[in-house]
Every structure is written in C-alpha cells, then in structure tokens.
C-alpha cells in the first residue's frame, strides 16, 4: 500500500520549515527532492571508496567502475532499453539534446532539411535545433497546440516531407502538464522514415516509460528531476543511430587510439562519454531509480493521478482562477493565473506562506505567447505531496486574492 506519510520520512528536506511554516514544496517540475538513500549513497561513496573509473588497475578503480556500469544497467532496465550500451550518461536533458542535435546534425542534416518540433517545447528542445539551423541552413516546422494544451495532430502527416530529418517532441509539457500521444506520433513519423527524439524530462518520473514499446529513437531525461543528483542525465539512443553518429565531445575514454595524425573512437557507449564522467552522479541516479522501483512505479502514478484530480477540483474553486493546460490526459503539473493579479505578486505572497511554487514562463515562452500571457503560476506535484498541502495552497490563493484582488 502506498503510504505518503511513510514516504515523506524518506525525504529529509520535507521536514524543513520556511518563514516558520512547514515547507510545502510544489516546484517539483523544476527540480525534485532527494530521498535519504540517494544522499547517503553519495556521501558513502566519497567517504569509503572514491576513485576514478575505467582503466585503473587498482581495487578502488575496479569497484567504482563496476558501480558505474551497474548504474547504467539500472537505467537500461528502468527504461527497458534493448542494450546497455544504448544508455549514455550526460550532464542532463539539455546536454543530451544538444548532443543529439550536434551529432545527428553533423551526420544527417544539410541545408534545406526540415526538423519538426511542437509549440509546447521547453527551450532545451528548441534552442539546440535553432542553433543547428543557423549552422546548417535547415529549418524548423512547428506542430501547434489547441487552447486545451493538446497538440493538433490532424496536420501532422502533412508536415512530413522528403526533407524531414527528425521529429523532436516533449513527452510531457512542463508548462501545461499535457501528456502527448508520442507513441502514435512515433509510428506516424516512422512511416515517413523520420526518427523521433522524446524529451522525457517531465515524463519519466511520473509514469512507466518503455523505450522499446514507444519505439522512440532517442529518449532523454535529467537525474535531478527524478529524485537523483544534479549534473547527471541520460541519453538513450537506438544502437543504429549511436553507432552511425559522430561523437559530440572529444577527450579521454571516448577514444581508442590517439595520434596527431589520426584518432579512432571507442565503442558505445563510451564514444559519447568524453572525459571523467559524473560517475558519482550516475550512482546517485541509479539509487533514485531503484528507490522508485521499490516504492512501486504504478502505485506512484496512481497516487499522483488522484492527487492531481483533487488539486484541479480544489483550485478550481478559487474564483477567477484560470488553468492553462486543461487536457484530460495530463500529469501533476498545474499552471494557472488569478484574474487581474500578476503571477509574480502572487508568487511572492505564496512564498512567504512557506509554499514553493514557480512563476514565470517556465522556459517555454512559445507556450506563453500562445495564450498571450507573460507567465503563469505553476504548482508541480510529486508523490510525496499531500491533499493537505493542496488545501494550504488553496488557502494561500485566497489570501493572495484578499490582498491583491481589486
């Protein structure tokens, strides 16, 4: 049975107070809190057996290498990749997408080619492609969304042309919460021989992701958003692509043989892991994933879904509150505005009541532009949040209205 009170005890930060109030952390879309096992894994590794990985003969190096490679296996199993070497550790989602944009771009993209994105991408899945377009002279095509925050897929088929090289789409919108029908989109893209990158930064922590079932070509996510440490992320890529694509960064460990005349590259996944990787980060991430597996990913999803329903109903009672992202298929992200009240004012007041929500554009300016707004208030939930916390947010919003409402 899923017991939220028991789970909360696993997260030391949730015991903190802010301005004298118990912390209510509703900014999980930005970054998540860490269970004690993750924090302890990092401490104990540094305290007991830290060593650089790969190619050391000595015991600590062997041990560290084994732990790092076992973290890779954990990730592989968590996303159900076919091969362990399809899992590349990076610094985060942003680094992963930049890696794909560069390496895929170098190999397959030339002037006049087309890249399809959606109107609800995070900047991390826009700017690397824009930079690629600037370099190579290719162009972006954008799938729009409707006012519920759902992608308009009617025209998707018409978007593919013989010049389409890749479709990059977010699995879940960080600004709207919408879960996109990526499996269907991948199938359509593949019918046109177009590979698909899925930005999983907001999806993998809230549901079960199976990259083989999705049949996506690339899947990327960040450790820090899935209860792991900062500075670590994952780039999953199908073997075929990773084999064919040139490396992104050069350095130690990604090479087989170096002379000034000619350098040959190492096998997968090392080809894409130049230099000393964040191996401690990888171990922390694996610990977080194991924690989720033990807690029960289905149970987490179910609890979060119930909490989301409750939150929508509760906040929906606040007069003048307007939600952005009203798809029925969404995760626990609530984006909204209070009529006539600037989100920044509201955020400042809510903060002082000990509640952490985010305000602003959430690095998704095109979403704001769609609605003609500057930003929203965003409460993004996690499985350690409670109905009681939602009630406190509700009261805080009433307080905001009382102070600012005209």
């Amino acid at each position: 049975m899923f017991d939220v009170e028991k789970i909360r005890k696993d997260f030391p930060v949730l015991q903190q107070k802010i301005y004298g109030n118990p912390l209510i952390y509703l900014d999980n879309g930005a970054t998540s809190q860490k269970p004690r096992v993750v924090i302890e894994k990092i401490s104990s590794f540094y305290s007991q057996s830290n060593s650089s990985i790969h190619r050391g003969v000595h015991f600590f190096s062997e041990q560290a290498t084994a732990k790092y490679e076992s973290a890779r296996i954990t990730v592989k199993e968590f996303i159900n990749a076919k091969h362990v070497h399809e899992v590349v550790f990076t610094a985060g989602t942003t680094a992963s997408i930049n890696n794909v944009a560069f390496s895929f771009g170098e190999k397959y993209i030339k002037a006049g080619d087309e890249i399809i994105l959606t109107e609800m991408e995070h900047h991390a899945n826009i700017v690397p492609w824009q930079m690629l377009c600037d370099r190579k002279g290719c162009k972006l095509k954008i799938i729009p969304f409707d006012d519920n925050g759902e992608l308009i897929l009617e025209d998707l088929e018409k978007m593919f042309t013989p010049k389409t090289r890749i479709l990059a789409v977010t699995h879940v919108s960080n600004a709207l919460g919408t879960i996109n029908p990526v499996k269907e989109m991948i199938k359509k893209a593949h019918a046109y021989n177009v590979p698909v990158l899925i930005d999983g930064a907001q999806s993998i922590q809230h549901g079960v992701v199976d990259v083989r079932d999705l049949d996506c070509d690339f899947f990327v996510f960040s450790g820090h958003k899935i209860y792991g440490p900062t500075g670590i992320g994952v780039l999953y890529g199908k073997e075929k692509w990773l084999e064919e694509m040139p490396p992104y960064q050069g350095g130690g460990d990604m090479v087989r043989n170096v002379t000034f005349e000619k350098t040959t590259y190492n096998d997968l996944p090392f080809k894409f892991e130049a230099g000393t990787t964040n191996y401690v980060g990888a171990m922390g991430l694996a610990t977080a994933l194991n924690y989720l597996t033990e807690t029960g990913r289905e149970e987490i999803k179910e609890y979060e879904s119930e909490l989301t329903g409750y939150a929508h109903r509760k906040l929906g009672q606040v007069e003048g509150l307007k939600f952005f992202g009203t798809s029925t298929n969404k995760i626990c992200i609530l984006s909204f505005l209070l009529d006539g009240i600037h989100q920044y004012d509201a955020g400042m007041i809510i903060d002082k009541l000990g509640i952490a929500v985010r305000t602003g554009t959430h690095c998704a300016q095109p979403v704001m532009d769609h609605f003609g707004i500057d930003g929203t208030l965003r409460a993004s939930l996690a499985f350690y949040n409670t109905k009681d916390e939602i009630d406190r947010l509700y009261e805080a919003l009433l307080k905001v209205k009382q102070m600012l409402g005209s």
């Binding site: 920044y344 500057d374 102070m403």
Partner: protein, 144 residues
C-alpha cells in the same frame, strides 16, 4: 529631508511590521498610490525588462533636479519602485550618482534585488544611478 533621512524614515516605517504580509500590504498600498507614468511612455523605449515583471522608468531634469516617474506591471514591484522614486526623485544628479541605497537591505527586500531575480528592479536601480551620472557629466560640460 536629505536622501538618507528619507531612507531612515522608510526603515523606521518598516520596523513596525513583524509580518511579511504587513510589509507587502504596505508596498501594495504604496504601489497603488504611485503617481502614474504618462501612458504614452509605457512603451518599450522606457521598459526595463526583467524575466518576471516589467518596470518602466522615465526621467527629466527640472531646474537641476532629476525627476523620476515609473511604473510596473506587478504591484509589489511597483511598491518597491515607489520607494526608490521617493528616495531618488527630486534630487541633484550628484546625489543620485553617489547614493548608497542601504534601505533596501535594511527593510528585508534585498532578495528582490538579486541579479537572478530578474524582476527589473536591479536594472532599474542601476538605470536611475546611471541617469544621475549622465546628468552630472552633462552639467560639468555645460559649465565649461
């Protein structure tokens, strides 16, 4: 009153407030009372952009004194803007350029001025002092 006397007065005012909500209520009140900027200046030319809230700032030199009018789309920001205007508007250029705006820190609003807050306030403060400096330099020239 000198510039610093006004700052001290503000600090004193804020000492009454134990609660953040009281501070905010006061700032909201100040914001609402701030003399509005002429709407024709509320355009991009006068905009100091922040990520989270916008500030518009206009200035003119009136008999050797700098007059500031300002506005913001967020009311709490506008309240802080009002305080800055209160302290700096109507002062001589050299006073503005040399001003040490310690009151912000003392009334607990320093965080609102952190460079990463991006609410336009820090940029506004810099801009105000820059105007002071610019007018000061101009005066120097015209005296030559």
């Amino acid at each position: 009153m000198t510039l610093n006397e006004i700052q001290d007065e503000i600090i004193e005012d804020f000492e009454f407030f134990d609660e953040w909500m009281d501070k905010y209520n006061y700032l909201i009140e100040l914001g609402n009372k701030l003399e509005p900027i002429d709407p024709k200046y509320k355009n991009n030319g006068y905009l100091i952009e922040g990520c989270q809230s916008k500030v518009w700032l206009r200035t003119e030199l009136d008999q050797g004194k700098v007059r500031f009018t300002a506005d913001s789309d967020a009311i709490i920001t506008k309240g802080i803007v009002a305080l800055l205007v209160k302290v700096l508007s109507g002062r001589k250029p050299e006073e503005i350029k040399d001003a040490d705006l310690y009151f912000i820190d003392r009334i607990g609003l320093k965080e609102n001025l952190s460079p990463t807050r991006s609410n336009g306030l820090l940029a506004m403060m810099k801009q105000m002092k820059l105007y002071g400096l610019a007018y000061y330099a101009k005066q120097g020239e015209s005296k030559k």
